[in-house]
């Protein structure tokens, strides 16, 4: 019964994906996994919407960064485009907390009552920030902190989101943009580039007229606005009727079934229930070890540089400057599970982790100049930092492929040792062995 339900949800979602790919967001497949070719931007957008993640979509102006997110959220969350547009925050220096989060009810304020009118951005589960790097750092922080906790505060009042996802778009750095500092970047689960689809598909896009009209249903939007206006708190129940109305429209016109809130929750439970294969687990541990370990200083730190000639020069710890944060494994597991669910796998396998890793790693890692220099001149189909992350993933994977049995045996031995049994302490060259010994109190 559960399997049947899973299949049904997955089929629904895939149908939505196919619909967007064929009618709204034209793109080239650039991610190949288990015999399937998909577009990374679209797929990761879907996974973000389903899992409630946070995605940073980058790219040149006009390549559909925001569009992909809008379409995906419209169908997954059953919201007309007009509502999504109204709730999106655009990045410019003059954005204020009042425009982003909420404002006082001025009428009531005059009477001495502090009542907050929450913004659509705060109320709705879909949060899109356009050109986040044009926001000052304080406003970036405001948004990311709010999304991190799922709670918005203004004038000592709070609003909790039961479900939400965040899409932030950003152009490449130019004179009008600010830098997204590492602590803020770290809060994003994944980064993906919205690429140019090529001349032929671009011509197709140019020819197509009013693609938006598909999801831009006036009557439904009015219903939503009315519901939102009526209930300033925007509790989910008050929007349910509007959701049902819009879902009916999509069903009647396009044969599409959107997901209800309950269904989305069920999907999340299904994803969370997926077991992680031991090999995938070990691979992730290897990666984390290489990204955080330092034999000299205990761990990687951005203000401490590795010596030349260190024993671990051949590992990633030598090529990165900063330490992997604890959000990284969370992001990887979240999206790897989502990907495994998407593909109908029974468990999360190495390939799922390997596919997600570059997207989760690229924006979080400060690479050494020398490493980037080597990667810079290689042929690639994505921005340099994504390419560097992909290359690093491939390097770790090669090492994992060679010594996976030994690594997993070492982890098994460690489990037994910690359980009090007599086992030989694992020995090996990889930083993970040193980490194991530290965990066992042997180093």
């Amino acid at each position: 019964m559960t399997a049947m339900r899973t299949k049904t949800s997955r089929d629904k979602v895939r149908k939505l994906y196919a619909f967007i790919g064929e009618n709204l967001y034209f793109s080239r497949p650039d991610l190949h996994i288990q015999g399937e070719s998909t577009n990374a931007t679209l797929l990761l957008s879907f996974l973000t919407a389903l899992t409630g993640g946070k995605a940073l979509v980058i790219g040149e102006p006009g390549l559909g960064k925001t569009t992909a997110a809008e379409y995906v959220c419209a169908l997954v969350y059953g919201l007309p485009l007009g509502i999504i547009w109204s709730s999106a925050v655009s990045g410019h220096p003059e954005q204020t907390e009042e425009k982003i989060v909420g404002r006082p009810n001025l009428g009531k304020l005059n009477q001495g009552e502090e009542v907050v009118i929450w913004s659509y951005f705060a109320r709705l589960p879909v949060k899109i920030v356009d050109e986040i790097n044009r926001l000052p750092e304080t406003k970036q922080s405001l948004i990311l902190d709010g999304v991190e906790r799922g709670k918005w505060e203004y004038l000592n009042q709070g609003l909790v989101n039961d479900e939400f996802c965040l899409f932030a778009t950003a152009n490449y750095q130019d004179q009008g943009t600010n830098t997204l500092v590492p602590p803020l970047l770290d809060r994003f689960d994944v980064v993906v580039e919205s690429k140019h689809p090529g001349a032929n598909i671009a011509a197709l896009i140019g020819q197509a007229t009013c693609r938006d009209v598909v999801l831009h249903h006036r009557a439904s939007e009015e219903a939503f606005f009315e519901a939102l206006r009526r209930d300033g708190n925007g509790t989910p129940a008050s929007l349910e009727k509007a959701h049902q109305g819009f879902a009916k429209v999509l069903r009647q016109h396009y044969g599409l079934e959107t997901l209800s809130r309950a269904e989305r929750q069920a999907v999340r439970h299904e994803m969370a229930a997926l077991e992680v294969d031991l090999a995938a687990n070990a691979f992730l541990r290897m990666t984390l070890a290489e990204l955080s370990f330092c034999c000299k200083y205990g761990q990687k730190r951005s203000n401490e540089v590795c010596d030349e000639g260190c024993h671990y020069t051949g590992y990633l710890c030598y090529t990165v400057n900063n330490c992997a944060s604890n959000r990284l494994p969370g992001s990887i597991y979240r999206y790897a599970r989502a990907l495994a669910w998407w593909l109908g796998s029974e468990r999360v396998e190495v390939e799922h982790v390997r596919s997600i890793l570059p997207y989760a790693l690229a924006h979080r890692t400060q690479w050494r100049e020398s490493y980037l220099l080597l990667r810079e001149r290689e042929r690639r189909y994505e921005p340099l930092l994504l390419h560097a992350a992909r290359h690093a993933t491939a390097e770790v994977f090669r090492r994992f492929h060679e010594q996976r049995h030994e690594i997993m045996q070492a982890l098994g031995a460690a489990a037994h040792i910690l359980a009090g049994e007599e086992f030989m302490s694992p020995q090996g060259d990889h930083p993970l062995y040193a980490e194991i010994r530290r965990d066992l109190g042997l180093e």
């Binding site: 992680v276 031991l278 687990n281 070990a282 049995h405 997993m408 045996q409 982890l411 098994g412 460690a414 489990a415 037994h416 910690l418 359980a419 194991i436 965990d439």
Partner: protein, 234 residues
Amino acid sequence: MVNPFQEFFAYTTSARELPLDHILARRDRVLQRLLQSYQAFVEEESTQLVWVVEQGALSRAYATAVDALKGVEFTVEDVEDMCVELDGANGIATPLGAPSGLFIAAMCNHVQNRDIVLNLRNLVRRWPFLGYRLPRGRHLQLEGDAGDFVGALLEGGEVTVTGNAGNYAGIGMRSGLLRIGYSSGKHTAEGMRGGTIRVQGRIAGMGRVKRGTVYEGNQRVFPAEKEGEWTGSR
């Protein structure tokens, strides 16, 4: 405290164990034991303040080497690997000249295989005393150039050097055969009491031979050929 390895508790590897793993493990074990034996031998010998090439000292050192090898089961391939190990600059072994040669000789004399081939071409060092007291029934082939004292005190075995030999080749040999593919150095066959030495090339200098036969090319040089006597090589 949470056990971060709990998921791997029941893990059993799916990788096959190949005979290669056993071969390498055994090789490493034996090599380790041989190196320990060698280390013990060197330490024992280093208590002698001056290491001299003198029969009494040689016998004693050889006996120490044999003693150090007791209980170690090794093959001819282990002997070859040990030579490579001693030739290298790193490792715990200190590749001293003369004692190393004696140690290798002791290994050659006690290895199970009767036929031993050591490729000296790829080695840097020229150890002396290779083939020392090789007993009857054993054949030691040294490919490349050998050091001094090759085949010293030969006891019936056959030593073949495909290249050149150093000085004092065949010194004190009692019986057996020493073949040298090219030339030998000075004091060849010094104190020789029996057996045969055949040098295909030139002998730089003969030692004081007591008994036995020495050939230089096709010509017998000890005992010297009488006129008309043919001593062509067999």
